[in-house]
């Protein structure tokens, strides 16, 4: 069965620090990849997605992610985090031709002012 792992359960950073959240998946075929964000008390929102083309994708709020096919990875990055980035981040994989997304367990990001 497909699975998605996220390297960190909880990440704590100071404002202006750089961020990288790891995501790896287990599926040998073609996949669509997503990062979703859940701010405190809010619903899940799409941060960015990769379907095909340039493996470096840019999303909202200065986030970007790089798809490395050989490593089955789709890590999320931001050069300088803000307090407002405090949230839970979920990586998701949808195998092309598959039925539904498989989500990772989530990484909680706390940014200290």
């Amino acid at each position: 069965a497909q699975s998605v792992s996220q390297h960190n359960h909880h990440v704590i950073l100071s404002e202006a620090a750089s961020l990288e959240l790891g995501c790896n998946y287990s599926y040998g075929g073609t996949v669509n990849l997503f990062w979703y964000v859940q701010y405190p008390g809010q619903h899940l929102q799409l941060l960015l997605k990769y379907f095909s083309g340039d493996p470096l994708v840019k999303g909202i709020k200065g986030f970007e992610a790089e798809f490395i096919k050989s490593k089955f990875s789709f890590n999320l990055r931001k050069p300088s985090v803000q307090w407002s980035d405090t949230a839970e981040y979920f990586c998701a994989v949808n195998p092309v031709g598959g039925q539904n997304f498989v989500f990772g367990p989530g990484t909680r990001l706390s940014v200290l002012p």
């Binding site: 669509n32 997503f34 979703y36 809010q42 619903h43 899940l44 929102q45 799409l46 997605k49 979920f90 949808n94 092309v96 598959g98 039925q99 539904n100 997304f101 498989v102 989500f103 990772g104 367990p105 989530g106």
Partner: protein, 113 residues
């Protein structure tokens, strides 16, 4: 509507009672998904509807769980004889097509006492 609407937003029920959770997807979205998010857990896939096709029920945890989607629009998730382990946030999402990104509702927080 403008987004995915779920009701009720909160539900407290006694163990052994039946509950119904409702999801109203974005108009025109053919795919509808139910996920469950437990405290400290990721998103657990429950069931998927695509147009008029038979639903994918592979994620339903027991036969106490069932769901239907009437007229290709509104969906109802029913949990019979609720147990305390059913306590979670139940999320509904819809997408334009099977492999498009999801739009999530705000969820129903179910507490079984």
């Amino acid at each position: 509507g403008a987004g995915v609407s779920q009701s009720p937003s909160n539900k407290v029920t006694e163990k052994g009672k039946d509950v119904e959770l409702r999801c109203d997807p974005i108009s025109g979205h053919t795919a509808l998904y139910w996920y469950r998010q437990s405290l400290g857990q990721g998103l657990e896939f429950l069931i998927y509807f695509q147009g008029n096709s038979a639903p994918d029920k592979s994620g339903l945890p027991s036969d106490r769980f069932s769901a239907e989607r009437t007229g290709g629009s509104v969906s109802t998730l029913t949990i019979q004889r609720t147990q305390q382990e059913d306590s979670a946030v139940y999320l509904c999402a819809s997408s334009l097509r099977r492999e498009s990104d999801y739009t999530f509702g705000s969820g129903t927080r179910l507490t079984v006492v």
